[in-house]
Each structure stands twice: as structure tokens, then as C-alpha cells.
Amino acid sequence: MVAAVVVLAGGLVLSVAAAVTVGPADLSLGTVWLVITGHLGLTSADVPLLRDHIVWELRLPRVLGAALVGAGLAACGAVMQTVTRNPLADPYLLGVSSGASLGAVAVLVLGLGAGAAALTGGAFVGALAAFAVVVAAAGRRAVLRPTRVVLAGVAVAQLCAALTTFVIIWAAHPHATQSITFWLSGSLARVDWTALGWATPLLAAGFAVILRCARALNAFAFGEEAAAALGVDVGRVRWLLLVTTALLTAVLVSISGAIGFVGLILPHAVRRFTGPDHRRLLPVVVLAGAIFLIWVDTAARTLFEPRELPVGVLTALIGVPAFVLLLRRGDRNT
């Protein structure tokens, strides 16, 4: 187990190192590494400013962003699937991504605020607002029943999707929908050091909460009564986990849009190797998610260069066949 985590962690470092050398601009391996070691203060290289920017301001933050978002989506998916006892659960189950889309589209189309920061902010506020509505609709006397939460989440997601369509049809010029569809499809193109700067601590805190709950999550897998019998405060832990995953998802979706299928597929795939024990599953799924999204995003920005695909399109193209394969084999662990 420790060996697997070490191997994956090594794989993650290698993936970051390799992915940053690939891109539409034709830069040599040496140039890329001179830039990175130069910024880390290890060498003092003389790389032209624009080439330096390509590596340090565009590629590296994006690769790191892909790692963070992939890790976050996979972790949230694994937790949601257990907490709601629903193998189809994914990080977006609670209407969070639909709320974020509505918030982002409102900013983009109605021109509330300006620039990338406003869009991120709009997405974040929309995500939190949608989750608040879900909790208000589903929770009674501070008890969250998974079925009710999921149903409320689906309903709120539908409402937000309808409102998003309404805003687009009502206010957007047909020519202006490019940036909207790109964002809605999920893209890591806007990740920069600023986004990494505020998202990383939040995500790290979220991961810490989830990892600390690994034992409780194992108990959940046996059902509520069993969990209670094992000494888990079911209501409190469920609240904690749902709120944590919703907040994590809000952070993820506001920096990258809704990237589909990573959070749904990877936990299932990883369980095949680790089994259902969350103390093993969670560290592995976090690393696997990071590596997976780094490479899918590398494909999205290079396959058709200098055109770019939204990464969410590729994760779905890869994710759906993988999911069908999993279904056909029958997943004994869910």
C-alpha cells in the first residue's frame, strides 16, 4: 500500500515534469528546464522573456492546476459515492456545478463585474448558493438523508440549468456564446498562479478533512445502523462530508468549469485495485486523479494545436467508454 502511494507520487512528479515540456509552442526540453530551474533560483539562465512566460505563466500553472482539479474531483467522487450510497454519484451531484454555471454565465452575459476574477467569483457564489438551496430543501432539523439530498440536488441542478439556458437565450448574442460553451465544457486554460494561490490551501484543507474521515467512510459503506453501531455519529459526519465535498467542488468548478466523468469513473477504477477501504482508496484516488487529468489536459491543448479543445470534452470521450467497460464487467465493490 505504501509502495503504491510512493510509486504514484513519483508518477505524479514525473507527469508534471513531462507535461510541462509539451505544448503548442515549439520549445526545447532544455529551454523549458532552464526556465523552471531559473525561477526556482537553481540556475541563472538567459531565456527570452516571451519563452519564459510560455513555460512559467502558461504551462506550469496549468499543469499544476490540472493535477489539483483531477485530485479534487476524484476525491469528491469517491466520498460522494460512499456518503450517498449511490455508485452513480459524482462531485456535481448536489447541484453545485449547475449553480456555478449559472453564476458564471450571469457574470459573462449580463456583464456583472469584469474579467476573469469576476467569472471565478460568480461561479463560486453560484455554487454555494445552489448548495444552500439544496440543504434548505432537503434538510430538516439538521438531519440530511442521502435520498432527499440527492433528489433536492437533482431538482436544483435542473432549475439552474434552465435558468442558465434562459440567460443565454435572453441576453447573449449568438456570436458571444463561444466563451460560455468553452467554460461550461470545462477547461483548465484560465488557471494561473493567482488561482493556484487561493485554491491550493482550500483544497488541501478539504483533503485533510476527507482523509481524517476515512475510517468513518468505511463504516458508512456498511449502512447507517452499522455505522452507528461502530460508534460513528452518522448525522454529524454526513453533514461534515457533504459540506466539505460541496465546498471543494465549488472551488474546483470555479477555476475550471465542470469537468465531467473524472469524479465518477476514477473512484470506481481505483477501487478495483485498492478495494473498498477508504484508508487505501483515498490517497490512491487523489494521486490517480491528478495524473489522469494532467495527461488528458495535455492532450486537449496539443492534439489539434494550435486549436484547443475544452478538456471536459475529452474526459467524457475517454470516460464514457471506460464507464461502459466497468459496467459490463460488473463492479463488485459498489
Binding site: G23, L50, Q178, F182, A189
Partner: protein
Amino acid sequence: MRFLTSWRVAAPLSVVLALVGGCAASGDSEPAATASAAGPVAFTNCGTSVTVPSPPARAVTMNQSATEIMLALGLEDRMAGTAYLDDEVLPEYAAAYAKVPVLAEEYPSKEKLLELAPDFVYGSFSSAFGDEGAGDRADWQKLGVGTYISAAGCPKETRPAKLAIDDVFAEIREIAAIFGVADRAETLIAGQKQRIVDVSAGAKGTGVLWWDNGTDAPSAGACCGSPAMIMSAAGVTNIFDDLTGNWADTNWETVVERNPDVIVLIDASWDTAAAKQAFLEKHPALKDLPAVKGKRYVTLPFSSTSAGVRNVLAVEALARGVGGVSS
């Protein structure tokens, strides 16, 4: 000679035309439809056969470019209605435009159009005949109503593989022929051609990024649509000439690598040039592009980039803007 005879007809036009010697060569391609003020005109438009029995008297234009081509040809008295402005109508046509009823802010519904009993419906994009607009062209043809879509706006299969300014001129000729005013088209086109010739010499070799909209993956002017047409007419080099289509989603890394000399900022209500400029100057990787540092921008209103009589304004602005900064 056609040039001299046409002047009499074109004189009432409010467009000021610089008719300098030699520009009459514009008549080198015949109008696709034969001009006749009386007889029917048959033509193929976007792969659809259309017959217009006699010059229309109650035409409806569904997009701004179509509206302005009609007004430039002095046909406002044949217009029963217009729709869908992207921008203010050009000042020289404002008085004529004021005489035409505006049917809707965007596309009028099919019902609204039928109520108006038009005899010709003219749009600049195929969406004008989509579900949100006038509906299927074949239905209108069955009612004896002629329809027309700009070549630049045809569905992909029937669109010119690479749009050229001559496609716009061909459209102007065809519309003029349908309305039996072929001479007016020649005067208009000759004037536009001369204006392009006057400005396009000094811009050769300047690398241009045409940024239409979008910040995550900038949508840039690609090889074959109206942005490419305008860049080519202005004599500049499109840095994304290798991308297929009219516009394409690209990425900032390639923009930095290709390092444009000048950046065209498309100004539209939904994505202003000012917002684009602010984005470029704040972006950690883009702020150091020489074009950004030197503020070498050319701002073009979106309305001047959809195929029509305004394209010449975009060509002039681009060529002058580029010439002014890359001496």
C-alpha cells in the same frame, strides 16, 4: 464605359465615391443573374434555386449587413421592414433607414413576417431562415416569395471555401440585379474597390492577431471567413492563417510564440475592445508581448466584420492602423 453610364443612376446615392481613373475594371465578372427591370430573375443562392418573378417591392431584411446593402443601393422605398441590428446603421444611410419599419430587435417571428406579406426576404446568415427566424426557405418559395442569404452566411457546404471581398461584391451585384438596379451596384463596387486600393499598399507583411472574443481559448480569425477576407484585402498577414474555418478557438501559448505585430480587438457590446485590452495588459504572459507593450491595437466594431458594405471601413481602419504603427 459602364462606369460612365452608371454615374447618372448612382448620383443620388449619398455614398461619396472616389471614382479615380482606371477603377472601372471592376466590371470584370458578370452578375450571376441577368438584370432586367421587368422579367423574372432566376439564380442559385447557397445551393437553393430561387426565382424572383419581378423586382420585389416589399422586401424584408433580416440582418444588418443585408439592410445596409439594400440602403447602399438606394432601395429603401422597396423595403417593407428590417430587423436585427448589431450596431447603429451607418450615418450616411440613417435618413433612408428611418423610413423603413423595424420589425424586431432580433429576428421577427415567422407569423409576424407573414402578416407583413413580403415579396422578398433577405438575410445575412442562414440562421435568418432557422426556427428562430423566418423558417424554411422552401416554404417561402412555395408562397412565391424570393429568399436570399449572403454567400458568407451560407451553410458550410455551400459557403465559399475561402471568402473573398469579391464574394461580397458578387452579392451586391446579385441583389442589384434582382431589384433591377444593376448600374448602382457597379458604381458602389467601383468606389469600394478604389478605397481598398488606396490604403492596402503600406501594410504588407505585418503579422496580425484577430481576436474576436473569449479569454480562456481566444477565438481568432482563421483562414477562410470574413476576418481573413478583411486582413487579406488590407494586405496584412494573419498569424492564424493555418487554421481552418472562419474563426477558431486557439490558445495564448501559440499567440505568444507567434508574437503578432498588431492585435485586432473586435469591439462588440457583448465583449468590448476595452475589456479585451484590459485583459491583455493584466495577463502575466501576454502583458510583455511587444504588441501589447506598444499598445499596437486596431479596434474594429463587430458590425464592420460581417460581409457587407461596411467591410471596406474595416479594411481602411486595419490598413491605416497597421500603417500608422509599423512604419
